[in-house]
Symmetry: none
Subunit: 194 residues, 4 copies
């Protein structure tokens, strides 16, 4: 008699979308974007192929939503610990803690993001946003490094950004046990004020 309420529908929608995104993300990260078919995602998620298209316009759109989620979540994690009034070294510590923590807990998302980072055929839209965030990150870094004892803050933030990306690349790709925590400490020590 009574139709489902607006809220009920919304809840169903959210659950389905999350299910699809989680499943797709894992498969993309594991087998690569191109090697993961919609069929496989649907089967794994326990839904029909058609349902995917109720929620996402295309396979590409699905991917992009996943990637944007990752960026957003990580940015929020970093934002939360930011205290511009803290001493610079402490800021650096907190940001690195947040980033390394985020990488570890979201390892699949990041595997996917880095795996695709250089693939122009699939990243056009996301790349712009990532570049934007990158710029913001660099500016924040510049402020911090300007207050630390480094030879050239501008170069330092550039090198530091590359270093982080390199570490994450290695952590995500090189199997076995990468000593992520130790590496973090080792790097931090270099910037520790005497």
């Amino acid at each position: 008699m009574s139709p489902k309420s607006e809220d009920q529908f919304e809840a169903i929608r959210q659950k389905s979308m999350t299910n699809i995104k989680e499943t797709a993300m894992e498969l993309f990260a594991h087998n690569g974007y191109h090697s993961t078919s919609i069929s496989k995602i649907a089967k794994e998620a326990g839904i029909s192929k058609g349902l995917m298209y109720n929620y996402f316009d295309s396979k590409k759109a699905l991917l992009q939503e996943i990637l944007l989620d990752t960026i957003e979540v990580t940015e929020a994690a970093v934002m939360e610990v930011m205290r511009p009034e803290d001493p610079p070294y402490e800021q650096l510590q907190k940001i690195m803690d947040a980033l390394f923590e985020s990488i570890q807990s979201d390892i699949h998302h990041w595997k996917l993001l880095t795996a695709l980072a250089a693939q122009k055929d699939v990243m056009t839209d996301v790349q712009e946003i990532a570049l934007e965030k990158q710029k913001e990150f660099m500016e924040t870094g510049l402020k911090i490094f300007s207050q630390l004892d480094v030879a050239d803050p501008e170069m330092e933030v550039m090198v530091f950004g590359a270093l982080l990306d390199g570490i994450f690349l290695h952590y995500l790709n090189f199997p076995g046990d990468y000593p992520l925590e130790a590496v973090k400490q080792y790097i931090l020590k270099k910037y520790e004020p005497k």
Copy 2:
């Protein structure tokens, strides 16, 4: 009328293979591996699809040969400048010169290699070789850093490797003018003996 000699055939083979590899590499680097069809490669290279299969077992095999070439050429470049008897800082300088030079001159090959670095669906065989080289590289690095004034040579070589990969990643992906030479100098200075 006159049958071609063995040598002539071999020359033809080499020329065809090089032609195919060069063409494929450029297309792969530009449009991505999955988005580049054999047809497109054949058309661009001015040969027939069938001929491709005379020289390469499959599309994947073609890709792998290209990637292995890249690794080989770069390794050779580094090997050539290696003088274990040189002072450590000088060794570091020479290796970095060779690597940065190689990245710049082989930019397309490297773009392709990094674009695929994290794609397990396509890299299985190459990855092992790359890992092998990586290990050799780390050992060489360890020897050098052990002679330099660093807190922990093992950690240092790890961080250094990540830093290089990060820089190359940025150089290859971020459009515009990355100050590759300046970055190299800035890093080197950190290791300069006082």
Copy 3:
């Protein structure tokens, strides 16, 4: 709270059905039957997909009801002006007036009908009815032309029917301003008794 009466329900039904039919007809006429999805109709009509199926058994059934409405309305218009006791030329005049008027006021319906006229995949049931009407029309025409000064009334009615269909085809499809009224007058003049 107060249960709606039978009549109220019926009124709701009629309103909904008309709404759906009008919307569907316009979309069909504009974009073609196959290119118009049930979703689009529902969205455009401001109702749910499910509701459609409360009123019409299928997409095809919806189309057929629309087409039959068109035929029925036009037939009624012609019937209304029919006066068998009128002089034949006057009858011809009145019928043509009614038909040309109908085409102009129901232009969307007719566009749809002619667009589909030759598509067997969709018209099976409607076609029979149309053929039936066609036959009736021919008989009426035969009576009229028998009283007019034409070489062969049977042939004349056949040619006349084709002529009307051809004119409507042109009017409906050829963009710009088809001189429908002038054409009507020009044709009528041919049958005018001296």
Copy 4:
């Protein structure tokens, strides 16, 4: 040893294309464009689905080539009998002979063409060409009717064009035996000079 010659390939191509076009045309005419799948065409033609796409860019492109062929062939047939120096009535006779002959021998092609004539979703490109031919046809008609004893040559050519289209519509769609030849004679007689 020796590869197929250019000519051999061309012959194969022509044969395949003709096979595909003939098969598709019949299926389109019989079941409608939208209701005929590429699979069905391929199966009927005894080829693989893929081969279709070697020769035609898309299903739509296939359709358009078929339609343009029809228009071209018919135009050629009319052109061949055109003798501007002939007396006008004789010209009219010859053109009608050519057109009626063409309709009868190419009945399937014409069924298809008229079936789609009003379907905007599929005809965009062809329609322009058809309109162009239509205009040429009208001009030729105008010259002829200007020399015949008709009330208003401009109106007459318009009405005449509609008449022809209407007749063909009826002939193509109304099953059973349409007296095409008799209709032609009946019409011609109307324009016969006394």
